[in-house]
């Protein structure tokens, strides 16, 4: 029971990182049907911004987190403007390859710029470990969980309660009809990228604090896992992405805990395939029936 609780705590903190990343995937996919492969690299850039702002500018943790979110939001908008916007009416597979190209560019650009070596993230907060019913919880884990939940609640508020959120939902249902009622398509898509990238930036700083090590290729695997999380939750659905992220996080730590850590990724993909077979549109996805 104790191990179970411990793994649940670990899984929830890892899962909240995946959830933050999955939100970006799910929003972008919902709105322009693009698997944004470069999303994991935005997360990497967020972590590096956190690193430099903590070391060079001596920001405190909150400032580093917020500035990373702003920087990543701007980057996301710039990437969308230059790389994806010209391809809006092209075949979707073309946009996908462009996204892969952007991902390669960010990874290798950072490797060339700062070197490919892993570096240790500055300890912005003193680590305090709480013991509670035999379960060890560090303040970093709590911080990750709370920040992630706050950001997700904020996102849900933006999407459900603001005018821009309404526009986002309208565009994801039908872009052309949305334009007809006066919604600016380009602004809405830029806003979506800004939101998603800000979430990824926050996740980058949080993971830097949690794992203590960052490198230019750190976004690859979490990026793909977060996309898997978004698919499991039902791509296009915001609560689905959060749920998917937590499922993947708990699953991964659980598989590691039973001593199958070599197979942890295989289990994640296996669960993905099984869920897709049972629920082809994910847990919260809408399965549209095809009509002639």
């Amino acid at each position: 029971m104790q191990t179970f609780g411990q793994q649940l705590v670990n899984g929830l903190s890892l899962g909240s990182i995946y959830a933050l990343l999955a939100l970006g995937y799910t929003m972008v996919y919902g709105i322009i049907k693009l698997i944004n492969f470069a999303h994991g690299d935005i997360y990497m850039l967020g972590a590096f911004w956190g690193y430099y702002s903590l070391r060079a500018f001596h920001f405190n943790f909150l400032m580093a987190l917020c500035s990373a979110m702003v920087v990543c939001a701007v980057l996301g908008v710039v990437i969308e403007y230059f790389a994806y916007r010209p391809l809006r009416h092209s075949p979707r597979i073309t946009a996908l390859i462009t996204a892969i190209g952007v991902s390669f560019l960010l990874e290798n650009g950072m490797s060339a710029l700062v070197g490919a070596n892993a570096r240790s993230f500055p300890q912005a907060l003193p680590v305090v470990t709480y013991h509670w019913l035999g379960i060890r919880v560090s303040n970093i884990q709590l911080l990750i969980l709370i920040t992630a939940c706050l950001l997700m609640a904020l996102l849900e508020l933006i999407i459900k309660r603001t005018k821009m959120g309404k526009a986002m939902r309208a565009v994801s249902v039908d872009p052309e009809a949305a334009q007809l009622v006066g919604i600016n398509l380009n602004h809405t898509i830029s806003f979506t990228f800004a939101l998603g990238s800000a979430m990824a930036g926050a996740a980058g700083v949080l993971i830097g604090l949690y794992y203590n090590s960052i490198d230019p290729l750190m976004g690859m695997t979490p990026g793909i896992k977060a996309f898997v999380a978004a698919v499991i939750g039902g791509i296009g659905s915001v609560p689905g992405a959060s749920l998917g992220g937590f499922i993947i996080g708990i699953l991964e730590t659980g598989v590691q805990a039973v001593g199958l850590s070599a197979y942890k990724d295989a289990v994640v993909y296996f669960v993905l395939i099984v869920i897709l077979l049972v629920m082809p549109a994910g847990i919260f996805g809408h399965n549209r029936r095809e009509k002639v």
Binding site: L87, N108, A112, Y269, F270, L272, I273, V292
Partner: protein, 316 residues
Amino acid sequence: MKVTLKSNLAWVGVMLFGFIIIDALEFAGLINTFIENMLVTIGINVILAVGLNLIIGFAGQFSLGHAGFMAIGAYATGIMTQTMSTPLGFYISMVVGMVIAVIAAVIVGVPTLRLRGDYLAIATMGAAEIIRIVINNLKITNGAAGLFNIPALASWVTVYVLMCLTTIVTVNFIHSRGGRAVMAVREDELAAGAMGINTTRWKLAAFVFGAATAAIGGSLHAAYIQTIAPGDFNIMASIAILIIVVLGGVGSITGTFVAAVVLGALDTILQNFGTVRMIIYSLALILIMIFKPAGLLGTWEFSFRRWLTKGAVTHD
């Protein structure tokens, strides 16, 4: 003479001509090991990408797991030629790799091909990763370290001949009744089903066919490079094959050839640039996609058949 036979003979002629040219250049000493390496890589990439183009471009099924089937072929050769280090052993291992890849493709394809579009892509990607992780943890495959000192049983001639063979077989499949059924499924699955085409069967046929060619590519890779590790067959490897297909034009076999040659040459030229190599490569990729969204050749196909039938009056 039938048009199909004529156009096939014309292609065989072109392939023989290409062979003679490369052989002559080799004889004249104009092809060093460096360039030969590039040519073989291009050849293997053509085999892999033609198979993937059949799945994506002609059957319309978005598969992101090609490297998984390639890994099966590569490991079949790597393991079997250790005990049977003869050309015959190499071909037996290639056939065994193909059979295992076909079985794996059926196991993966039967459930997942019910999914559509991006969901299929992500499911096949997951399946390929499962294959890679299993290889990574088995004893017989030597785990993450991989296999080395695999006997060098494939020369550029083997690669060239097999490249021609798989391409001819694939193109003939596309022009056959089955190929038309597969393309009908791509255009409209519901309509194709209503016309009496067993959509599941033909989707699976294209998928299995692609997997078998991927296994051939993997076998050749193992026997030519002589070193394989599970890391060579990760998602990035699947994506590299996908890039060739999309860059050449989804649904154009000619385009696949052009893209494989362009990317192979680009890669060789960029070897001299060191760290900025991948930056230039990714920028080139983005720019080509932005300015040529349908790929270099779109769906255009070079065809002897069109020449042969041009102006001919059809009598029924």
